[in-house]
């Protein structure tokens, strides 16, 4: 399966149809879903109807744009009206949303064909999909290894050719990390660039919807399709959405970049570090200028994240109490019914984070933990802005290692959390960031991360396209 732009061009030339693209996607699902478990819900009939409508539009010369007729997948924490949306949790096992997320509605309005809802770690809390209540997804490159998470199902669906693109969500790296592990492109836009309306909230000051695609140009197209102000999300940015694809086509050879040494420090595997240095050299050979930059507080970002995100999660998940959604456990009174419903409905990782969040927000600990973490956030953001006064973008590894084996980190939550150590800073600072596949190491994909200033996705995509071209074998 090629890129979505190539598929669109084939449709324009009459060489294929939306229905044929869908058959190709569903053929891959049939062949590989049993092994990979990318999806929690499949929608073959709805998708076929949407594909036929797209073909009818094209036949009468009314095709709607680059996404019309293109098969895609939505992470199952994005609300889809009338279609089961679980967040991979037992507590939402049968939830049928009464409305769709803005990003979903925008894609539907542009004719994109939704194939199904993709697996994830429960409530997007995890880095491997091992915390899905419905079983993990598997990495298409090596099914003995995790695909990353939490948007693991979305990454698997794209990497295995089950759809041309997917939406995921990020709180601390949940699009870029699985993209790196599965060898696809994962883009996290700036905070506010894409509406969060209809995204099941995990940590509201960090959450952002992102894209998983086969290449950078496709990322530009999908981002343009979902970005922009939304009256239903107060934090969505009112700044105009640039023509991202035109920015990519303009090229990024005049850009400058830095490789902060803190991102190559202890814990980063030698083969990952080597690939970043190799990529930096290739960018220089293409005419991009390298300058020294430093982000000294990077190593504290993980600590701040594991205070802020659980704090917000403990508040956001209070609504799941067995009254308004999902199954209700019996209890002699209201409080016991809450406790039993939540105790039975949530998995261990979600409970761990709710307890941690409750702790750091509790009387006597708020200043020491939560306030201190939010202050560090200011420091991290200021460091990034100083670095961006020197360079246009930053180049780093996406993850410290390549994909790990199932069970390798589940017994040690801190080890699991380390998988997001290099992606979290961009979430805390609200920056756009992207993971582009580099040269594999030991047969496993390696992700190269590019970060740019807030709302400069145009520059980010330009640099990412140069990087993609530079590292291509």
């Amino acid at each position: 399966m090629g890129s979505l732009l190539a598929a669109q061009e084939r449709m324009r030339r009459g060489e294929t149809t939306a229905e044929a693209l869908l058959e190709e996607s569903l053929g891959q699902v049939e062949a590989r879903e049993g092994d990979l478990h990318a999806f929690l819900t499949l929608l073959p009939e709805d998708a076929l109807a949407a594909a036929r409508q797209s073909d009818a539009r094209r036949a009468r010369g009314a095709a709607m744009g680059p996404l019309d007729g293109i098969p895609w997948a939505a992470k199952d924490n994005l609300l889809t009206e009338g279609v089961r949306t679980t967040a991979a949790s037992r507590i939402l096992g049968d939830y049928l949303p009464p409305y769709s997320a803005t990003a979903v509605r925008r894609l539907e309005a542009q004719g994109a064909v939704l194939v199904g809802k993709a697996n994830l770690d429960e409530f997007a809390m995890g880095s491997s999909t091992e915390y899905s209540a419905f079983g993990p997804s598997r990495n298409p490159v090596d099914p003995g290894r995790v695909p990353g998470g939490s948007s693991g199902g979305s990454a698997v669906a794209v990497a295995a050719g089950m759809c041309h693109f997917a939406l995921g969500s990020e709180t601390g790296g949940s699009v870029r990390q699985p993209a790196a592990f599965c060898g696809v492109v994962g883009l996290k836009p700036s905070y506010g660039r894409v509406s969060r309306y209809g995204l099941i909230a995990f940590a509201s000051s960090l959450d952002q919807i992102g894209t998983l695609t086969r290449d950078v140009r496709d990322a530009a197209v999908v981002l343009a399709g979902i970005a922009g102000e939304d009256p239903f999300d107060q934090t969505s940015s009112a700044s105009p959405v640039p023509d991202y694809l035109a920015a990519v086509e303009a090229g990024g050879r005049g850009l400058s970049f830095g490789v902060p040494p803190e991102y190559l420090a202890q814990g980063v595997a030698p083969e990952v570090r080597d690939e970043v240095e190799r990529a930096a050299g290739l960018l220089e050979r293409r005419g991009l200028r390298r300058r020294e930059v430093s982000l000294p507080h990077t190593s504290y970002a993980l600590d701040a994240y594991y205070i802020i995100a659980p704090a917000e999660a403990s508040s956001n998940l209070a609504r799941f109490d067995g009254m308004r959604y999902g199954p209700r456990a019996d209890g002699p009174d209201l409080v016991q019914a809450y406790r039993q419903s939540r105790g039975q409905g949530f998995g261990r990782e979600v409970k761990r984070r709710i307890l941690l969040g409750t702790y750091v927000l509790s009387a006597g600990y708020y200043d020491a933990y939560y306030l201190q973490a939010q202050r560090l956030r200011t420091v991290l953001r200021d460091e990034f802005l100083r670095a961006f006064a020197e360079v246009d973008v930053l180049l780093t590894p996406t993850t410290p290692t390549t994909a790990f084996r199932f069970g390798e980190n589940t017994a040690d939550p801190l080890a699991m959390y380390m998988a997001d150590a290099l992606t979290i800073p961009a979430n805390l600072a609200g920056l756009p960031a992207i993971s582009v596949p580099g040269r594999p190491a030991g047969g496993l994909p390696v992700g190269l991360q590019v970060m740019a200033p807030p709302l400069r996705e145009d520059v980010l995509l330009q640099a990412a396209a140069e990087l993609e071209e530079a590292v291509r074998p």
């Binding site: 409305y99 506010g192 107060q234 934090t235 701040a304 409080v335 019914a337 709710i354 200011t378 801190l414």
Partner: protein, 96 residues
Amino acid sequence: MAEVGLVAALAGLARLELDEGEAAGLEQDLAAILRHVDRLKELPLGQVAATYWTAEAAQGMRPDAVGPCLDVEDGLGCAAARSGRHLLVPGLREDA
């Protein structure tokens, strides 16, 4: 730092029922995580302003506009239990 019995107290605040084995495991996890994040306290950040949101241009309040309301049947469609057009919930504790 996690004290003995802390998880039980937090579970009460968070309205989470935990079995004994689960509580013991979570107590260990919580202690390990808090040991790790405790190093944040060493940073001299007392004079630094906190950043709670990174949105460049929050829209503020949107103008009031009358729009279609969510259908009651849709709204109640996923309720755990209902009575007619209302959510049905267990009774409150008499001693609460």
